[in-house]
Symmetry: C2
Subunit: 633 residues, 2 copies
């Protein structure tokens, strides 16, 4: 029988339980000081030698005996006898035996006969660096548990420490398990999935200070998983199994850990990341991570990161936090803590945070995330406009210059972001795919800097302005043309169904893949339907929605749809055919405030750059003839 | 003739000039994705493949054709025919051809005869992960100029990118120059100095993203320096020479750069770091760094760091800033920007910053620094208590838990810091060596958490309280014993001058090394003088001061003094003799507020721990018999 339900232990409780029941023993290793940057000292380090090791001149000049110079004055310059009274000395040079002060070269008068006069006495020990001024033998250079930075290495070497004890990095085995997994780069047959999770997990582990090793992929076979874990336990301080941590009939992680040791907990009241297994075998921590990428990385951070930092004796670093206004309502279920990836930007004087997709399988949501919103288990979520605290994935300073693009998404927006970043490393651009209508709303509410808009108004034959006027009455905004682009039918190679217009779709009951409500392309499709006198019910698949041109093309390429409406580069990305339908205007909507900013000026500089036009037009289906032109309403 | 004066160009101007005249060309290299963590993308990266590459089940259950399930309801359960109507499917498995929805395993009724029923219809595409849900072919995964983090690697591999173009790390040669330099670890003869600067410079360069190489040490010989720079220019993008950048008669860096290329600037109006040379040869940046360690690292950060970040196309990260009250007046000269290393802690609700030594040669000041105070060129400095902005070397969160120890310094304080940190990784301890009197003042003013105090009052025969009562009238404080320790004469091995008491010192005109004013040991020495009826003038070297026991011992070991007053472990560190004089009480002074904090509780836990006692007593000359006892006034 399947065991279907997991426990619902609160995350904090799960972590406390785990940390109290397992540990990674602390080991020490000896390293050359020069190779120890970033490592953590194994104990206090005391200087063996002093630096300087002798009394040294702190200036270029002459070494003197101070008591022999007391008579020197402006009125009575004192002639010094070479060797007996003075010796030339360079900065850093050792003070000769019996000498106790240095006079700077600038304060010496060289006479015509080569004699040497001074006009002021030297005080004892002036301009002398005493033994141990830099580092003195016997002093503590760095305490134990200290992460070594470059100047620490300098002080250690100065203090005669050429090698030292550091805490060994805990060794962590990562076992990718799953019959569907193949090594990344292997040809992907239907049903096979590249094991990219292991690379992410190992990179995080290395970043946190562990020494990770990715073991060979193991199929869903309990004996083989057991053998791999058993071998891994020999040479490692902890073992991570990814995945098989859920409760399906091919999920063996639980039973393997239970067999080899003990499972403390199966299931955390947090999302994504719920199907986590915490246990031990041979006294070493064994963790079963969920298979969905975002779930796996969340769970790794919750339970493995504190374990590693504790082993290294370092505090777990806290992420910078920021208060931001929500650009969108975020709902949550009571009883489960939710982790929502957010884009964050600084719009009209305040930080705005927008949720990205919450799918546990969407790695791109972590790539695009600027921060994380943690919704407590007892909360139903937050309203739009509400101020929330977000944990930052990028420095606050960077987010201060992060532009939020809402509205319709087009590949040109990504290209614009890349150009901006390459020319102004401080600038960056985060996109939310809200559709044209959503973009107008976001700019109107001060929740985005700009929005891509391509909304045709059949009545006036005009683009965008009729919608903007209606949706943002009385608000001053600017509309700048980004491009004209060709919309058309995205169909399988050779256009087997001979799609030319929307009537062909209806007549042939061709499975269609639609765009989401509010998208300009959806509105255009509805317009085509009305024009042809058709109703949505006559289109097979009208209710099936995707959020981007590329995802529409992907559905056609996968054969689950036989037609979609979209742009040429999307069809090209999947080697599909494209039946051009009409050129449409794609504009950028900017608030008046933003339009007058230096950031907007940088955007306009890119948009009007022939190099940018060249790159855009190379994608196919674009005309940049009006790019950068203000489109008057 | 010596060229003595350097230019006084403001730092910002010098940097602008430098960056406008030199550049490091950007190179691209191809790396395996799995090895690219932390590297910067060479251009935008577009997904080649979609993930998932096929429509996949998002749940464990059965794949069905939605249109065949529409009739199912609570009242009329629908029996499904295996194979034709349904197929079992696991999460991630490919949806079989012709099937378009998944029903969760929990929603299926298995009948006794093995038949399978459902009681609700499936909607098309429910519980299906569409092709490209995670990453869709053709979409931008990361823009150019993006520093790769672990989840980026996952998205790249998911998108079929197993190798990618990244910006090559600029190659930087570090040339240690100076006839006094030896490789660290070599036996140190008088006049030789281990080259530890190169290791620090190379570690910083690597941390900032460059690829550094330390070349062999070159003596102060212009031909050899020229040859080394010429060779370095062949294989590197920039060359750093350390040192010889000043204007002494053995400083050849200027003339070598001038000969091979061009010097833009010699001398910056900033301290430490003034004698910097910025130039080029063969079109590549060549930098002459000062010889004093702190100067070298400051200059490296000012001029080389921005160059590297520009080459990598990344913004130069800004340090976190903090407003703190000055615990001490900090003066500065007009016309020069000054960089003062500071300790920082959070005392009684506000951050307090105290200056460390400003010596350019004191590497330990960088090791001990929690932050940096930048005094503008037009400022005369800041008054005690004034609020200043400091740049942080450690995260603010860490400094929130950093304890400031003022007052007399003893090796036990360092040991206490190490014990605290090992047991509470979030805690740390920064010491300012202010002497006992300075420590009482600092605790009284809320500028330190605790102070080491050992002040004997001859009139009452009492320790510490008479001074505290006089200096902090009406202030409630706590005094806790840390140890009793033996004070004595630190003298050369075999005590050749037969020092037993202060009269022997005076009689033999033995060169003495004193402690600074306000130090408990200085006050004790003055007491010994008065007791013996002697005056300071009768003591040779009475005016020569050191700030620590260890530095006193170092002076005796170097032979520039033949006696000092101090503690046994200091004598031991230099293999000197120690003539015990008297046991003294060494207490910790804590404000009442701090005494009641959890941090103080952690301190008391360490102080009363037998393991700590063992470690302290092993240093020699300590008794822990009252450690942790409240010393009533």
């Amino acid at each position: 029988m399947r065991k279907v339900y997991l426990s619902n232990t609160p995350r904090g409780e799960a972590l406390d339980q785990f940390l109290s029941r397992v540990d990674i023993p602390r080991r020490i290793e000896t390293l050359a000081t020069a190779a120890a940057a970033g490592r953590v000292t194994g104990g206090p380090v005391i200087a063996r030698l002093s630096m300087p090791g002798y009394h040294a001149a702190a200036m270029d000049g002459i070494a003197v005996r101070a008591e022999n110079t007391f008579r020197a004055s402006d009125q009575n310059p004192l002639l010094l006898a070479p060797d007996k009274d003075y010796r030339y000395i360079n900065t850093g040079g050792p003070l000769p035996e019996g000498f106790d002060a240095v006079i700077k070269i600038e304060d010496i008068q060289v006479l015509e006969d080569g004699g040497l006069e001074i006009i002021a006495p030297a005080t004892p020990w002036q301009h002398v660096r005493a033994v141990g001024e830099d580092v003195v033998a016997g002093e503590l250079i760095v305490p134990g548990g200290h992460r070594l930075r470059p100047p620490d290495l300098g002080a250690l070497l100065a203090g005669g420490i050429t090698e030292l004890a550091v805490r060994a990095r805990p060794k962590a085995a990562v076992i990718p398990s799953g019959s569907e997994l193949v090594v990344p780069g292997t040809d992907r047959e239907k049903g096979s999935v590249p094991d990219f999770n292991s690379t992410v997990i190992a990179s995080y582990l290395a970043e946190w200070g562990a020494d990770p090793e990715i073991l060979p992929i193991v199929p869903d076979d309990p004996a083989k998983i057991r053998a791999s874990v058993t071998a891994a336990l020999e040479n490692n301080d902890l073992v991570i199994i990814n995945a098989g941590s859920s409760a399906g009939d091919r999920d063996y992680t639980f039973s393997v850990i239970e067999e080899l040791g003990e499972v403390f907990l199966h299931g955390v009241a947090a999302r994504p990341g719920k199907p986590t297994i915490l246990g031990q075998a041979k006294g070493k921590p064994v963790i079963g991570l969920p298979g969905y990428p975002v779930s796996a990385y969340m769970s790794l951070e919750w339970f493995v990161r504190p374990l590693i930092f504790r082993c290294l004796g370092l505090p777990v670093p806290e992420r910078e936090k920021l208060r931001a206004a929500l650009g969108k309502r975020v709902v949550s279920d009571v009883g489960v803590e939710e982790f929502v990836r957010m884009t964050i930007g600084h719009v009209e004087g305040r930080y705005i945070a927008n949720p990205l997709t919450r799918g546990a399988g969407v790695t791109m949501s972590l790539v695009r995330a600027d921060g994380l919103l943690v919704i407590p288990a007892n909360s139903l979520g937050f309203e739009m406009g509400e101020e929330v605290e977000v944990e930052l994935y990028r420095p606050r300073e960077e987010l201060r210059h992060n532009l939020l693009a809402a509205g319709s998404h087009d590949l040109i927006i990504d290209l614009l972001g890349t150009f901006l970043k390459e020319r102004n490393p401080r600038m960056s651009l985060s996109s939310a795919h809200l559709g044209s209508m959503g973009g107008i709303v976001a700019v109107g509410r001060g929740q985005a800097h700009l929005a891509g808009v391509h909304l045709f108004d059949p009545e006036s034959g005009e683009y965008n302005w009729p919608y903007i006027r209606k949706m943002l009455p009385g608000v001053t905004v600017r509309l700048v043309n980004l491009a004209y682009r060709m919309q058309g039918w995205i169909v399988p190679g050779g256009n087997p169904d001979g799609i030319k217009n929307v009537k062909d779709l209806a007549a042939g009951k061709i499975p269609f893949i639609n765009r989401q409500k509010g998208a300009g392309t959806r509105i255009y499709f509805d317009h085509l339907l009305r024009e042809a006198g058709l109703s949505p019910a006559q289109i097979t698949g009208y209710g099936r929605e995707e959020h981007t041109h590329l995802n529409v093309a992907a559905a056609v390429a996968a054969g689950t749809a036989r037609a979609g409406l979209g742009i040429l580069p999307a069809a090209r990305a999947f080697n599909l055919d494209f039946v051009p339908l009409a050129e449409e205007r794609y504009d950028l909507l900017l608030s008046e405030t933003f339009y007058n900013s230096t950031e907007a000026a940088s955007i306009l500089t890119v948009i009007t750059d022939p190099l940018f036009h060249e790159k855009v037009e190379a994608m196919g289906g674009y005309s940049m003839r009006d790019a950068g032109k203000i489109m008057e309403g």
